[in-house]
Symmetry: C2
């Protein structure tokens, strides 16, 4: 089995942690000074280890292996959320460097703005040809600063945008922190991702009649929150009959108006979403939800409306890559790994439209991410890097 | 049947409307300049029509009939909520004046601060001996001003507080706007109040675990809002089996934390209350509620706690007074009146601890009260005043 220099890998991670340090984490928003410093450092490292390294007009980096034969694309992102963790993104990039250093025929990819400071997966979408100039022209950050101005300040104006070279890769790999506690709760060290779930999100609104609770009989009331409760209870009863083994669903936001103890709720808004790895399951869940809302609207005194607010396609991972990860994990940490799906969005979900993809998770301590206390043990980081290398070797062999 | 000067009654109401006018309503908070002006005007009116009229140390007015024989106490309050309506309180006071003017042996009562600017039913509680000096010492308004300072500014320091004279009254009557739409919706003009409902209010809290909706399986979740939904659905199913004919129950306030679409609710607070005219029914409902919360706490993954936050005893109206109102309504507006309970709190509920009480409602246009647009047709006001007089005559005859 191939040997990886995990000490160097950890040293790379430690070095990146010094660029934009915030407490024990990192503040490195896309195209800011620290982000560009980290990109230039990565370019230099890729160059030093013999890759053909370039940055493109949207901030993507690609370090191309110069040899021939089968290759893999391995990478992640390097910018962070504001005052966030040292591993989210950087782990995948440094692991890719480590695989290249070990002599594996991999291209190192660093996909710009996965964290969405300026848009939605701009870098990986640009690579797969799913980002047009009009969107770049229109993009602004939360403060209203145009993306074009940020690209100019970052010195990226005039650089061409790169595209994935057709037929170049056997697939794309990414290692990432779990951002959940499924591994930690089971005392497991590696998660082999079987797919990145799709999401369908809805806003359901009930219109009632605001009234005093004392003076209005039950027969006269139009209690919008009660209609919402009845719908949510119906979902709670019916969704288990149509969902898949790993489906999740959540009413994360419930807004009652005027939300006063002695006033009958006149309006209620529910933000409801569900996720699964199968389009067919998502279709079944959506049909069930719409039928229940229709039934609520028909039965209840408070008219109910449903509006789709987000829709993300599920992306199953490539079975061959999953098998390679499983084989590698079985060899390196038998009994301490599991198959799991990714509930969060990653660049791999975008790359999946052009390439077979696979992802590997290492545990997040306490499930914390997008916060400066985000962490993973150094042993788990090293193991993750070694499983990546072993799986890559299997896929390329 | 006795004749009432309803033109004068409406003129009194119109005059009071000029003291603290706010748009089409009135702004007359307790012990403010306009409130005291209205009290002095009422004292002068009572005096002019031959009553023995006094103001006491908490702002109550009592205009005592000078004759002997059976008497009634008739009245309401004169202060208003901030920028509120012209009828809430003033209707009951001017109707009492009208009855006295018609020669009926009634004492006119004006109970201070029913609207609770400084405390909880201070005036009527003082009259029935249920207000001690320590509570007056401690009372503050919303701005923190001590009640003692307000009483001093209003010139009430040194005045003794009056108490109801034992055995003086056959009962206490009050006419009030409905503050609901039960009469209006049925095109009815008079509501004979059978009792003022009791209230029990609770705060129910569910403690869950805040997590990302993508990364947490259904099996791992502790969704506090879902536990709340299940409890509220259980209440919706079980309360009809234990409630009375006219019980009402409401979850008026639901607070989800952090209330974000993509985060599993970590905490949920529900403000739940119910009302009924029967203590036995209230006891049954409370036992049912507590059993359901206990069951939720036992079954669900989110511990549930319940805390009582308010408890008001129901006060059934006196059957003899109810019968007198019914007879009068039947004579003056056959088919256009109904028996109903009062869902809101009134001074009569306090007086009921010492006296047989009865209340009459006239319609509120659109059910609006505690707002400057509050209104009732002049015809309904006049009818209400005549029904009061006819009922008083029956009770005294």
């Amino acid at each position: 089995m191939i040997t990886v220099d995990t000490r160097r890998f950890l040293a790379d991670l430690d070095h990146l942690r010094t660029i934009g340090t915030y407490r024990t984490g990192v503040h490195r928003p896309t195209f800011g000074a620290e982000d560009m410093e980290s990109r230039r450092w990565l370019l230099a490292e890729m160059d030093a280890l013999g890759l053909d390294a370039r940055m493109d007009g949207i901030g993507n980096l690609l370090g191309r292996h110069r040899g021939s034969g089968p290759r893999l694309l391995v990478g992640s992102h390097i910018e962070t959320q504001d005052r966030a963790g040292w591993l989210d993104g950087a782990l995948g990039v440094t692991a890719a460097l480590a695989l290249a250093r070990a002599g594996l025929p991999v291209d190192v990819g660093v996909y710009a703005d996965e964290e969405g400071h300026w848009g939605n997966m701009l870098g990986s979408r640009s690579l797969v040809g799913d980002l047009d100039d009009a969107e770049i022209d229109a993009a602004r950050d939360r403060d209203g600063v145009p993306l074009r101005d940020a690209l100019a300040r970052a010195g990226l104006v005039g650089l061409p945008r790169m595209a994935l070279e057709p037929g170049r890769y056997r697939g794309a790999l990414e290692i990432h922190i779990e951002q959940g506690t499924q591994l930690e709760r089971r005392d497991q060290r590696i998660g082999v991702v079987t797919g990145i779930v799709g999401l369908r999100a809805f806003l359901i609104t009930f219109e009632g009649q605001q009234d005093h609770t004392g003076g209005t009989t039950m027969a006269e009331r139009r209690d919008a929150a009660l209609s919402a409760v009845r719908l949510l209870a119906a979902i709670d009863a019916e969704f288990p009959k149509v969902c898949g083994d790993h489906s999740v669903w959540t009413a994360g936001r419930i807004v009652v108006e005027p939300n006063q103890p002695a006033v009958i709720p006149g309006r209620c808004e529910v933000s409801f979403s569900f996720r699964d790895l199968s389009d067919a399951v998502l279709d079944r869940m959506e049909a069930c939800l719409r039928a229940l809302v229709r039934e609520s609207d028909r039965r209840e005194r408070c008219p109910a409306t449903i509006e789709a607010v987000a829709r993300l396609k599920p992306e199953p991972c490539d079975p061959g890559i999953v098998a390679a990860f499983e084989g590698a994990a079985d060899a390196l940490c038998p009994g301490a790994w599991r198959r799991m799906q990714s509930g969060a969005l990653h660049d791999s979900q975008v790359l999946a439209s052009r390439l077979p993809v696979g992802m590997l998770f290492v545990p997040s301590i306490g499930g914390i991410s997008h916060h400066w206390t985000e962490d993973t043990t150094r042993e788990d980081l090293e193991l993750g890097c070694r499983v990546m290398a072993a799986a890559a070797e299997r896929l390329l062999g």
